[in-house]
Amino acid sequence: MNNMPAILVLAPLLGAFFACLAAWIQKQLSYYIALAAMAVSCFAAVSVLTDVITSGTMQYRMAGWAPPMGIELRIDLLNAMVLVLISAIAFVNLVASVKNVEQEISDRAPSFYVMYLLFVVGLLGVTATGDLFNLYVLIEITSLTSYTLIALGDKDRAPLAALNYIFIGVIGASFYLLGVGYLYITTGSLNMADVAVILKGIQGSSAVLTAFILCILGVWIKMALFPLHVWLPNAYAFAPVGFARVVAPLMTKVMVYVMVRLMVTVFGLEYIFETLNLADAVVWLAVTAILAGAFTALFQKDLKKMLAYIIVCEIGYMVGGAWLGNSLGMTGAILHILNDGLMTFALFLAVGNIIYMRRQTAFSDLSGLFAAMPWTMAGFVLAGLSIIGVPPTCGFFSKWYLVLGAFEAGAYHFAAALIISSLVCAVLFFKVFEICFFEADSGAGDHNPAKVITEAPVSMLASLGLVSVAIIAAGIYAGTIVDTIILPFLQ
């Protein structure tokens, strides 16, 4: 039996354990252990993906117990892709963030790395598991670690932001748990595949409907779908940047994945779009989310806050796409999980570099950045263009599928929202570019303003460069990704 799926999840878990121990010996050691653990996990994820592409869905029975009694990791094309995304981003971010962690929270670096690993364990577990209750536990592991990590940030505001996040996060998780309870009452099983089979026979049941609504509602709260998003901007903006740039691209995307999983695998698209009459309302909700996110972002005066609201807007893309009720929209939503992960990661990497050099990200602190940090800004511009949706960056291609799906479903309001949000994002980013380009840096001395290049360390730039390449590559190979991963999954 191929043990890669287990290694994938267990490597960071064991890594966390040993990193914790190693910190007693030497603080620096815990970083290297974390790095090694993530490298192993990343390698395992890639190998799982290639295996799944060549030989189909993988089922890994934990401790050898057969489902539906035992707990299984069930890895098909969709979560194999998401697993690679998570482990790769977590690994690259570890490389990029070491300097940020030293700068921001050097006294608590080991606990940062331990929590970071546990956070990744949670994300990987959520993605890999084939069990509904397990999913809940792993979501809570992810959430718990992210509460603590967020609280490590800005001393004045982060604890409060984290506490608000806890309140809302608990409600979300509890709704999900309640939904699982109803599912258990009606089906007597917790294994996703098993539940799906049993549900086919009892689609009319109001308990199933309750279960569905509760589960989806819980996931929506966790993913910060408008208007359940209020916790997100503060939590992400005040978190230490080393964590912000992994939680921002991954947390919401994994929750979108969970939604897609629940829709496609557990409840089944037929049930959702043929028995229930919710799709229209949800697409409207997504439209509201997109517009509200984009327009609120317009009023922000801090780069991190602006990006946080852009995330809210992007969540609308994915939810709307998934609920369009056709395979094009779903394709767009799934592709956007990957693409948005990459774009957001690149943006936050650039933000991390800026914070490392400038300490601040208020718009007034960004002047002269093009001259001072040309490479960082190059990456930032590329990621920004991807968010706007300019080809050949990957953002264009997911938008392509989403708009196509919207036309197919006759949801012209959704297409319009996508286009409008692209325009608003263009305004947002070029506003930032203008500040960075036209305004000379007041702090750089008066004689030779902004001529001196003060770039971030090589490790941070290399990470950003790598992700920038990935953004282009994901764009160029969008067709391939759709053909080999998403379409086979949806069939």
């Binding site: 291609f397 692209s422 203008e434 067709g479």
Partner: protein, 491 residues
Amino acid sequence: MEILISIKPLLTVLVPLLVIPILVSSSQKPNVREAWIFGAGFVMFFLVASMVPAVLSGSKIVFTLFELAPGADIAFQVDGLGMLFALVAGSLYIVTSLYSIGYMRGLKEHGQTRFVSFFALAISATMGAAFSANLLTLYLFYEILSLATYPLVAHHEDAKSRISARRYLVFILGTSIGLVLPAMIYCYHVTGTLAFSTAGIFAGQLSKPAATVLLLMFVFGFAKAGIMPFHSWLPAAMVAPTPVSALLHAVAVVKVGVFSIVRVITGIFGVDLLAHFNLGVVVMVIASFTIIVSSCIALSQDELKRRLAFSTISQLSYIVFGVALLSPSGQLGGVIHILMHAFGKITLFFCAGAIFVATGKKYISQMKGLGRQMPVTFAAFFIGSLGVIGLPPTGGFYSKWNLILGTLEAGQTIFMVVLLVSSFLNAFYFLPIVYQAFFGKGKDDLSGARVKIQEANLCLVLPLAITALASIGLFFFPQMFVDLITLGLNL
């Protein structure tokens, strides 16, 4: 028709792209940098020229880079139309490179490496647009071109260029995302393909109202063509250094806009469909309006470059006008105006830049008597003016002749009046400049004293002499280009 598969179109796009890293790395050695630019320019032109015989013999060169979805791939195709445009842009790039050395060094401009790098990127995108095999590829390069030109417009980094760059972006990016993108995706949604074909891609799948809306979205959406009311970015973009105004805002960028409209009219809708719905007239009315109004505005401009910009707006609409005539001569006249106007207008811009470098004068009212000081420049200006007005012995005569013939062919006599009136207006806003320059008396002229000849440096004078002579040459030898267009449009 023979189909040849060749990598040459891709290479043409890649050559200027690949030279950019070399340009950046040799930023400290301007002579080496400039040598590379010429190298790239000549290689690119040679590549384009080497494809001419094949195209003239009626074959089509194609190359598919990668596929996004069936019918929507990133692919190149060299046909007569693309070849014509590529020849224009490629040859003028070399001339402009020479000119920009003289201009940028003459004025000791800052950021020359950035300037030449983005210039190379812009020309690469122009080539890509010329060789696009479908609307998606065209859109891709259209957007890259928009973004590559932004730093060039913003080159001076002052408040004025900030406002202009913003306006440039709002119009260009706003329309392309807001109008072209949805229209393009809608076309794909309806037909499942975006490949250009002379028969059009809609096989009776479009009602008249839908076709009208789509056509207008395209015509206005490709705002680089400067159709009113989306024209005002062009005068604003004149803050850029003159080589940019000359090559990009008289040839490459604006012609890409027009070229896109030509492609949409002839390759997406197809002449038959438009004739069937009688939509050519709609476009002609819009174009005529732009022609007349912008000519009138040009009359009132005192700043030479702004007058040239408004003249460009009206001349661009000639091309759209000609193609929308939907008659063979009209289309021939319209498309060949891409070539004729390019050589005429670039000469005029070169002259404007040369005058500015030599004397620092930007306003027409300051130029009285200047012709005696700079006879070569103003002689070239005279030839360029004739080209734009459409008088022999310049190539412009040929296009205007065909346009008028086209109106008669199509039975649109009333539109012939538009052409004649605008020709008079052209003459009114150009010829007095030349007259005043040679025969007028400036304020500081000492009567009777012999004026010393003070031309700008050779790097500036040589290019404008070349393009002026070429403009005359085109009057005598237009046949090859006529053949290209006849083949490209299947006339």
